[in-house]
């Protein structure tokens, strides 16, 4: 390997790039979208995500993450949100960059660098987005074989979601405007895949205190009506832009 001159290394113009390679890598955007839906058998809330069927080669007829090209007029984040809207009709409660995947052989013909986002939407939204021949919702765990490296991408998104959930406030982005404490607990149980003591969970939530109690109660249940709460924190994803836009 030849060692370049140190000072010139940062001047990477498009001309420089095309000097080195005949075919530059293509840029793509994809999004992993999570929503909570009742499981088929138990009825308890579980994690689902929408996939689209590929109608062309490569990987024709396999399921893949929704995505599309990077539109020139938008930032990466805006392009991802617009793409989500165009492909699935969903408006995310939470949207954050996941990772840039750039392995050499992700796509058989040309090299593709995918900048992948992940999003959370409410169940109500997920219900609205009706399924078609080529768009279906799947349970996030135990997915079949997907196109490209999308199985790995989903697994990584799941890992990130569980990580953030552990000590964050994203759980609320899977819920509506108001919610009961039991619903928050069900979100945690669905994502972390384990049962949680209701009493202790309640105690922690109330002292963490990015939620406030309303004076309303959820009616219509079979038992004692639970109080409704409201989330008082931020509504956007953690990304560099939001960090520095404040000052």
């Amino acid at each position: 390997m030849d060692r370049m001159a140190v000072a010139g290394a940062t001047s990477f113009s498009a001309a420089n790039i095309s000097e080195r390679a005949a075919l530059p890598p293509a840029l793509a955007l994809s999004t992993v979208i999570f929503a909570l839906r009742p499981s088929e058998n138990s009825g308890r809330p579980t994690l689902w995500l929408p996939l689209v069927r590929r109608i062309r080669e490569p990987f024709k007829d396999l399921w893949a993450l929704p995505g599309g090209p990077l539109t020139q007029a938008d930032s990466l984040q805006d392009a991802a949100a617009r793409n989500l809207q165009e492909t699935t009709g969903l408006a995310p409660n939470y949207l954050e960059q996941l990772y840039a995947f750039g392995g050499l052989h992700r796509s058989p013909s040309q090299r593709v660098v995918s900048i992948v986002y992940w999003a959370l939407v409410q169940s109500t939204q997920a219900d609205l987005a009706q399924e078609t021949e080529n768009v279906k919702w799947f349970r996030a765990d135990g997915l079949q074989e997907l196109a490209f490296d999308h199985n790995e991408i989903v697994d990584y998104a799941l890992w990130r979601l569980r990580n953030k959930m552990a000590y964050g406030s994203i759980a609320y982005h899977l819920l509506g405007e108001t919610f009961t404490l039991a619903q928050v607990r069900e979100v945690y149980e669905a994502v972390l895949n384990r049962s949680i003591d209701p009493a202790n969970f309640r105690r922690q939530l109330k002292q963490a205190a990015h939620i406030e109690a309303t004076d309303e109660f959820l009616q219509g249940g079979k038992h004692r009506p639970p109080r409704l709460y409201r989330y008082t924190g931020e509504r956007q994803g953690e990304q560099p832009g939001s960090l520095f836009s404040a000052h």
Copy 2:
């Protein structure tokens, strides 16, 4: 805005992209490299990073992050590591993707999408990489104005580093093969920018136990010789690849 057919949304070939825009965005790689060096005044270890002087427009004569084009033969991670080697001669102890920056006006002429990595190197390595006219080390806090959006990028890398430090094991990647517990504490103090109780810190380290005691002691000091320890955990960065390579 025209709504694309749902099923076709994932088929993003290079042809598709160039249909929509005359000039596709350029792809670039940059890296934020942190090392510990003694402060000029206090002598205590502080965070430093190397920058390179731009010798062309735009932002001629301003300092910028080291980087370069995406080489065709390497994965993103490998390309970042190779770039590091070529521009600064440094071999990182830790290398992880930071973020893909794709704002519309990051570079004045053409749109540039930068995939940025961040790295940790040992102080001994940092000392070896001698400074030149166009490569200099700077203190990570209170940086002057840099080229492009590199100030924001450095701030974000600092934020990630502090986050990871809080409950992780990356501190050891800034140290050598063996180290004293006081040195680990100095890393934490330098990164988190606050003093830490030595006794309590020692207790936590020993029960966290991704380190093991050697039977050697650091000689040559002015006082009681401290025991040397060795890190027993992983040596690579957290990235999707390493997560799934195990099974």
